[in-house]
């Protein structure tokens, strides 16, 4: 397919999914319902004040996660790297949980992005320090990332016991949810999306060199450690902004760049915006499904707010298992 065709198709899919999400909600599903709601003054408020920001937050968060994953996969030279398996995701979660416990400014959308970035820098920093000592073997790095994640989520869970009464809200948040996300969240999130998208595009050519090996980068006069830490910081910011806003939606940061690279190849100038687009579409679709499930489950005696993260985690797991199987059969000669 020609380049432009791919972009058109992807944008169209994303727009369609965003529209589908806009048409979904507890006060009525489908195009007719949306049209009717827009005609009614009270119902229009639901669309403008609740649904529209929710769609925008979903798009922005998905895009941020896609960008973060894309940078990390290039940086660690590992097609299965993602914020949640580098320590960055769980660091951001730890930061944001701490913010919620502290309250005050740190618990506002802006404050939470700040503390999540701090936590993500902690996770990424540990990865960086340990990685410097452990050498640059990418496989080893991602294993270290898994372990850092385990420690940081251990701390997060211990913190949870400090305030048992808020366990429910925290859990919504550990898994990732768009329930109750409004304009305040969108206003806090979009500047970060613009920042990481622009910076990501600027850093893309270097990223392409780093993703091959350090000698290539040195060959054109770059200092790999400096660029690598800059790229890592960018990934941390992208992931933390999304996680602070919607919680730790798992697998989006893994699958979007994976799909992005399948479609756009190794050219990071295209893979970064491509991953952003696919990530945005993924979160929109996942939230639509989660809301539909919620409506279905509400027919029972107990209203159930199915979190968006439950959908991304389960769908993502199935896709990841298929990918791992295929990968393992492809490389079975070289394995073990």
């Amino acid at each position: 397919m020609p380049r432009r065709g791919v972009w058109t198709v992807l944008t169209a899919i994303t727009a369609f999914l965003a529209l589908a999400q806009l048409m979904t909600g507890s006060s009525g599903n489908g195009p007719a319902a949306l049209w009717g709601m827009l005609g009614d003054d009270v119902a229009r408020q639901i669309v403008v004040e609740l649904r529209a920001p929710r769609v925008l937050v979903a798009l922005a968060a998905g895009a941020c996660l896609g960008i973060a994953g894309c940078i990390l996969q290039a940086l660690l030279r590992n097609p299965l790297a993602a914020p949640e398996i580098t320590g960055i995701g769980s660091g951001a979660v730890l930061g944001a949980v701490t913010a919620t416990l502290l309250g005050g400014f740190s618990a506002t959308p802006h404050g939470m992005i700040g503390t999540a970035i701090a936590g993500g820098v902690l996770g990424g920093g540990v990865l960086w320090v340990v990685a410097a000592r452990a050498g640059s073997d990418p496989l080893r790095l991602s294993v270290i990332g898994v372990l850092i994640s385990a420690v940081l989520s251990g701390i997060t869970l211990i913190l949870l016991t400090a305030r048992p009464q808020s366990t429910g809200t925290m859990a919504q948040w550990l898994i990732g949810s768009l329930n109750g996300r409004g304009w305040a969240h969108w206003h806090a999130l979009w500047p970060w999306l613009v920042l990481v998208l622009v910076a990501g595009l600027l850093i893309a050519p270097v990223l392409g060199l780093l993703s091959v090996d350090d000698d290539h980068a040195r060959g054109v006069g770059l200092e790999p450690p400096r660029w690598r830490s800059a790229a890592l910081l960018l990934a941390v910011v992208a992931a933390a902004a999304a996680i602070a806003t919607v919680g730790a939606l798992s697998f989006v940061g893994l699958l979007a760049p994976h799909a992005g690279r399948l479609v756009f190849g190794a050219d990071h100038r295209r893979a970064i915006p491509g991953s952003a687009l696919i990530g945005a579409a993924t979160v929109c679709a996942a939230d639509t499904v989660a809301q539909q499930l919620t409506t279905l489950a509400a027919a029972g005696e107990r209203p159930l707010g199915i979190p968006t993260g439950a959908v991304t985690a389960i769908v993502g797991a199935v896709v990841l298992i298929r990918a791992a199987r295929r990968l393992s059969t492809l490389t079975s000669g070289g394995q073990s």
Partner: protein, 339 residues
């Protein structure tokens, strides 16, 4: 192969003595520390019933069963960790990354949230959940090749089941959350003799199964290709060992929740105590060291911030991951096994 330095009698014996001494010391501390603190010298008097009723209740009715459960849970997790690690030849093949722990925890969460009455809850649903989680992993890995793929698939299933658990927690009301947090974290709080009576026999039943898994480990140690060339099925051996591992983990997660990452550190410790030994020897050491590890962690969880009780699973996650990495990072095997 690696040259194993000749081990002198004294070097063989030293770790045995050290472990035995620390086991006795830990057990004594676990019985003595807490509120009220009981001087170790008075333990015989308390146990023989010559002390005050309060002291007797604290030691005999509360601390002793908890010590016992910690020992057995740790032993089972240590054994399970070694089986999983050896069968996948991967130091990161731990229950937390294979869908077993999170399967058990998710099942309990669902039972609590939906108020389903199950006989033997939370033990029975936890066992069922662990079995489902493990079975999902086993089924999903059947067509995959190589340890790295198995690990990745298991981690994916773990994450999905963890999502189910978290969904359950987020949907539950505040009364239920106290129970559910245990299944997020792992805890030995509130252990009594009746807990011990309902759980330890199950652990005693499944522990001998590890011995049956040893021949399968021997097959796997040859490597998949060599085993196939000899007409042995590496895949079947791996599934058998994984099944035993799942069963072991399930008996612990049911009553205690996921006491995380003990199955990572204990086998690492066992390997550094007996470098170059056979899997059989590591199995024994891993079992013993796992028991000591959980006992020590629970002692800390109970006393560190008294009267606040820390979740023991959170502590073991911190201790075991940091310790395990420190040990594993020195070993070439850690790197090689993941390739």
């Amino acid at each position: 192969m690696i040259d194993v330095p000749a081990v002198t009698g004294r070097r063989r014996l030293a770790p045995v003595v050290a472990v035995a001494l620390s086991a006795v010391a830990l057990a004594a501390l676990a019985l003595c520390l807490g509120q009220p603190v009981i001087a170790p010298g008075r333990l015989p008097a308390v146990l023989s019933g010559e002390a005050s009723a309060l002291e007797r209740v604290m030691v005999v009715e509360l601390r002793a069963p908890r010590l016992l459960l910690a020992l057995f849970a740790g032993a089972v997790l240590g054994a399970a960790g070694l089986l999983l690690q050896e069968s996948l030849r991967n130091p990161l093949a731990v229950p937390e990354l294979l869908g077993v722990s999170s399967g058990a925890a998710a099942a309990v969460a669902l039972v609590v949230v939906f108020g389903i009455s199950v006989p033997g809850a939370p033990l029975v649903p936890a066992l069922a959940g662990a079995a489902v989680g493990g079975a999902l992993t086993i089924m999903a890995v059947r067509r995959a090749v190589g340890p790295a793929a198995v690990l990745l698939i298991g981690a994916a299933i773990s994450a999905a089941l963890q999502a189910v658990l978290l969904t359950g927690v987020s949907l539950s009301d505040s009364r239920e959350q106290g129970v559910l947090v245990r299944y997020l974290l792992g805890s030995l709080t509130g252990t009594t003799w009746s807990t011990v009576v309902t759980t330890v026999p199950g652990m005693l039943l499944v522990l001998p199964l590890t011995v049956l898994a040893l021949p399968a480990l021997g097959v796997l140690r040859l490597g998949d290709d060599t085993a196939t060339a000899l007409g042995l099925s590496a895949g079947a051996a791996r599934v058998a060992v994984l099944a035993v591992g799942c069963l072991l983990v399930a008996t612990v997660v049911g009553p205690c929740g996921p006491i995380a990452w003990v199955g990572f550190l204990a086998p690492q410790l066992a390997r550094s105590v007996r470098p170059g030994a056979e899997a059989r020897s590591w199995l024994v050491w891993s079992t013993v060291l796992g028991a000591l590890l959980v006992t020590a962690a629970d002692l800390l969880a109970r006393t560190l911030l008294y009267p606040i009780e820390l979740p023991v699973g959170g502590l073991t996650a911190l201790i075991a991951v940091v310790g395990g990495v420190a040990l594993a990072a020195r070993r070439r095997r850690f790197k090689d096994a993941l390739a």
